[in-house]
Structures are given as C-alpha cells and as structure tokens.
C-alpha cells in the first residue's frame, strides 16, 4: 500500500473518508448514550420511568429528583442527601491535588537539577510506586492510618492520595524539567538565588502546561477513587463515590432511578468541569512534553 499510494482513486479516498466519519459518529453516539439516558431519566418522574421507554425524552421534565438527590435522599440510615459527601470529596481532593502536585514538582526539580549519587535508583523506585496495585497496600495503609490516629478522617484520605499520587506527579515533572535548560539554573545560582528561590522564581512560573496536566490527572483519579474511600472512611466521613454507591445500593423502599441518576451526574460534574476549563491546556501540555522529550 505504501509502495504506490497514488494508485488509490479519488472515489475510494472519498469512500474511506465517509467510512471513517461514519464510524466516528456511530462510536460517539454509543459513548454518549449512557449520558443521555442518565440525564433524561433524572428529569423524569418515577411513573414515567416505570413506563419502560428508556430512550424517550421526559414528557414532563422536573428537577425534583435533583433536589432530592442533593438534600433529602437517604444514604444508609440518614436522609440528608449527598451534599455533605460532595463537600467531603472537595475537602479531600483539593488539598490532596495541591500537595501531591507541589511535592511532585519539587521532586522533579531535585531529580533533574540537583542530581545526587543514586538519583536514578530513587526515581526508579518512585516509578515503581506507580505500578503497585491499590489492593496491595490496603492493610498496611489501614494500620498506618490507625497508628497515626487518622482513620476515618478526610485528613487520612488526603494523606493516602498524596502518597499514592506522588509517583505519577514526580514522573510528570521530572520529564518536563529534564528538558528545562540547566543553564537557567546555573545563571540563577550565579545571580545568588538559592534552592527554593530558583524553584519558585524560575522553574514553577515556566511549568504551566505540566501543572495543568498533573492537576487534571490527579483531580480525576482522586475524585473518582472508590477503593481507598470505602476502605478508610465510613458514614459521615465518606467521599462522594462511596455515598453514591450507598445511595444506589440501598435495598429499602422503592428504587428511585431518577434520584440515582441525578446523584451520579452530581458525582461526575467536578471532573467534567475541570476538563472543560483546562482541557485544551491538557492536550497542549501532553504535546509539549512529547516534542521536548
């Protein structure tokens, strides 16, 4: 094929194009269908849902299910809605993302600009941390949290996510700073700037794209985490994902699909928001890393 591409006629090129666009549209519809079902179901009444037509638009749209999911739905035994858990997740994800990103940047800075004997081994071990399955650390982590008095607290979850995220954030920043010219650091040294001053004044202000990549990655991972949340917290201290599970899997009373769907959309909103706001920087950041090596 590559030997004689000019023999492909215009007609078959057009057919190929139609085929590609057709396939893309079909796949996009398949991917968007669940979101459509979630949104339309959340605006329906229970009677309408029982009617059975999952793909139909709501005949009498109402936000009652959304209000109930946010403030009244029963999670376990307390019927206060998901809003408390939503804020739990925010209180967990914001500090965890900020701390793990900053520490990753600092690690990347040290591993590229202040190399010490054995820096490769240290980096290799941090990389290795990226590949340890969550399940393997559950029990040691639970023990550690217990010893530190952080079990069943948001602080404990923040710590777990910072530790687990550090491997990835270090990897991102190390590769980005690897391409950052050493001469700038040398120039700043001669100019009289110290270790932290060089980091704050020279490196961090030039790290925009990789900060965006890291924040999106960490935010999505930590927000969506279920296993650590369900293992290290319970009841009032649970994050959003755990509360959603408890809401959906409650076995008492009538199954309120519309409320479940509204709660699930609530759970997905923050990550959607982050992607919409920072998505184009995300792509740009990945590209920058790719081109610069």
């Amino acid at each position: 094929m590559s030997a004689a591409p000019e023999t492909i006629s215009a007609g078959s090129a057009r057919f190929t194009r139609y085929f590609i666009y057709g396939a893309l549209i079909i796949l996009a519809v398949v991917y968007l269908l669940p979101l459509y079902v979630m949104l339309s179901t959340s605006f329906k009444s229970l009677d309408e849902i029982r009617g059975g037509d999952m793909l139909a638009l709501p005949t009498d749209p109402s936000i009652a299910a959304w209000v109930k999911a946010w403030g009244e739905a029963c999670i376990g035994v307390s019927c206060v809605g998901i809003k408390g858990y939503f804020w739990n997740s925010i209180k967990m994800v914001v500090p965890a993302v900020i701390i793990s990103t900053l520490l990753g940047a600092l690690n990347g800075y040290v591993l590229t600009k202040w190399r010490f004997p054995g820096h490769k081994i240290v980096f290799g071990m941090m990389l290795f941390a990226c590949f340890i399955p969550f399940q393997a650390v559950l029990i040691p982590m639970a023990r550690l949290l217990g010893l530190m008095g952080l079990s069943n607290s948001t602080t404990g979850l923040v710590m777990v996510h910072v530790i687990y995220g550090l491997g990835f954030t270090t990897l991102f920043f190390r590769n980005y700073y690897e391409a950052f010219p050493d001469e700038l650091v040398k120039a700043a040294m001669i100019d009289g700037a110290g270790f932290f001053r060089i980091f704050w004044r020279i490196l961090l202000p030039s790290s925009g794209p990789i900060i965006v990549v890291t924040v999106i990655y960490q935010f999505t991972n930590i927000w969506n985490d279920f296993l650590f949340g369900v293992s290290f917290s319970s009841g009032e201290a649970s994050p959003m994902t755990v509360a959603l599970n408890n809401l959906v899997s409650s076995s008492t009373g009538v199954k309120e699909y519309n409320v479940d769907m509204a709660a699930a959309v609530f759970a997905a909103l923050p990550t959607l928001f982050v992607y919409v706001v920072a998505g184009r920087y995300f792509v740009r950041g990945l590209m920058a890393g790719a081109v610069k090596g």
Binding site: E183, L184, K186, M189, I190, G192, I202
Partner: protein, 366 residues
Amino acid sequence: MSFLQIKNIRKKIGSVEILKGIDIELEKGGFLVLVGPSGCGKSTLLNAIAGLLPPSSGDIVIDGQVVTDLHPSKRDIAMVFQSYALYPNMTVEENIAFALEMRGVDKAERAKAVAQVAKTLQIEHLLTRRPSQLSGGQRQRVAMGRALVRKPRVFLFDEPLSNLDAKLRVEVRAEIKALHQNTHATIVYVTHDQIEAMTLATKIVVLKEGIVQQVGTPAEIYNRPANLFVADFMGSPAMNMLKGRAVAGGIQLFGAGGQGVTVRVPPSVTTTLSEGKEVIVGLRPEAISDEGSADAAAAASARIDAEVTIVEPTGSDTFVTGKLDGTTFTGRARAETVVEPGQTFRFVFNLDKAVVFDPESGQRIG
C-alpha cells in the same frame, strides 16, 4: 601579582581526566580567551572558575582571595551563557535586576542600575519585553546587561556568539571588544572560533585534551606557534605544513634525492639541526604570495614555479593552491590575479616568516 590565578586545576569526571593540570594567570583588565576544539576542556575550565563544577584539585584565586570552595554567588563573578539563559518568565528589566534583587538591593537603586546598563547597551526600548519577544542579537545584549549590572570582578563568557548568524556575530564581537576597552573589565572568554580569539584577546590560551598547548598574546600565538597543533588550529586558511630536510646551512624543501627545488632557510633557524634531519616547515598563506604583492622587505625569499590546482577568490584576496613534488600549499595573491587551475604560477615564499617543527614531537624548534 595577577588578578586571576588558575593553579594546577585538575578535573576528573568518572575515570576520564578532562583537565590535566591547568596553570593560567591573568592581569587586571585583561581579556583571556580559552580556545580549542570541542572536548578540549575549555568549558569545563570556565565552569570551574564560575564554581558551577568544582575542580578535583587545584586552586582558583581572584584578587588574592582563594575562591575554590566558594559558592558561585559568593565569587563576585558574572557569566554570559551560550544560550543566554534569560529567565523566560521575566521581562528584560526583571532579568537584569534579578541578581541585584537576590542581593537585597532596594528597588529604587535597582531601577537606576538597570537604566544605566540599558543605556550603555542601547536596549532601553526593550525593558518591558519578555525574552521570547527578542531577536538573537537583542537576547545576547540582555545577557550581557545582566552580567554588567553587578559590576563583578570577573566576567565569564561561554561561547556567547555561537548562536548568532555570521553578520551579527561580527557586529556583537566588535561590541564586546568596545565594551572591554571602555569598562576595563577582566574577562575570561571561551570560544572554538580562532578569529574571535585573535580579535578579542589580550591573552590567548590554546587548549587540547585538557592540556595547555600555548599561552601568549594573539601575535605570539599566530606568528610563533608552540607546536603543530597550535599552528594548524589558529589561522584560516590553515598554515602550510611543508616537509623538509636539514642540509648544510638551511632546509631543503620539495624534491627528495636532489630533484625539484631547494630553498634556504635563514641560518638562525637551522643551527640546532643535525644534517639530514626531517623537519616540518610552517608558512602562513600570507607568506606565500604572487610576485606583485610579495613583501619587498623580506630578507630571505624564494621564487618557486608550481602547478596551480585550486583558485579561490574571496573578493579581497585570491587564494591560490599550488602543487609541487606531491606537496600542496596555499598562497594569498592579489584579488586581481588571473590564473587558471593547470597553469604554472610563480609563488614567492617569504622565508622570514617560516617556523620549523620537529615532526616527531610536534614542537617548534625554530
């Protein structure tokens, strides 16, 4: 006592010795150029002076103070990097003021110092721009401004012109020269470009494989190269290296076994040679000319007819390469010289300028 002393500096990286005992002295206000091919250790030496790469042994003394173990910022030096190393997130003004800010100089004084330097370098209109909005020559100037603003004891330049295009390079070179003449700064300058070395330096150090080959003024390096390496490295086109043999009262060039042409080199050169010894005679292209532009004041000269192989007009001169008895040599003739390859041309050798090397050691012997 010298202002800058480099005493027996050695640097090992892994098992490789990059610098093998470097000794250099420079007087206050001097312009020292470290020149050599890539990998000769010149940048390593500069980094050692800056304190960015501590030497394995040896000492660096600035103005009587041993600075070998001092942090780069405590040595009172400034460095201009090859890539300029301007901070991309700061404006030109912030770039120049950064070192002063780090040293706790107050804002008003910083602004005054920046304004003064900007005026000297004529970059006042660029102060609010960022490095990405500057051309190569402008970046170069800002990098110099950043060094100048601190009024350091020693300036270090690491191949500062190698990222500029040819025309700009000549302009900035002249600016650096003027800057040195006006400020009487003490400068250490690294380059691989021998023309930069010749035009800028008050003192040249030629390095090869971590060993100093020769230290001297540009004229000494050019006219009396210490060995074959220096002779070949400095000057463009390169010095002609002609095989010769010592005979009674001179050196015979060209033609083994009595054929060809025999030329006589002044006896001052040959007194130390035993008869029959093989030598290499070095002659710069400008010491080989045509009849019309030959130096009439030359005490010893020889006229040699040889076949022309290459003619290279440069506009100001025409370089003519001739071949005789298997040896090729290049001479500099007048621009108007009309000669075609294949023709026979009369070359005039100015033998006053000849330098003689021992082919085994490579050292100059006369």
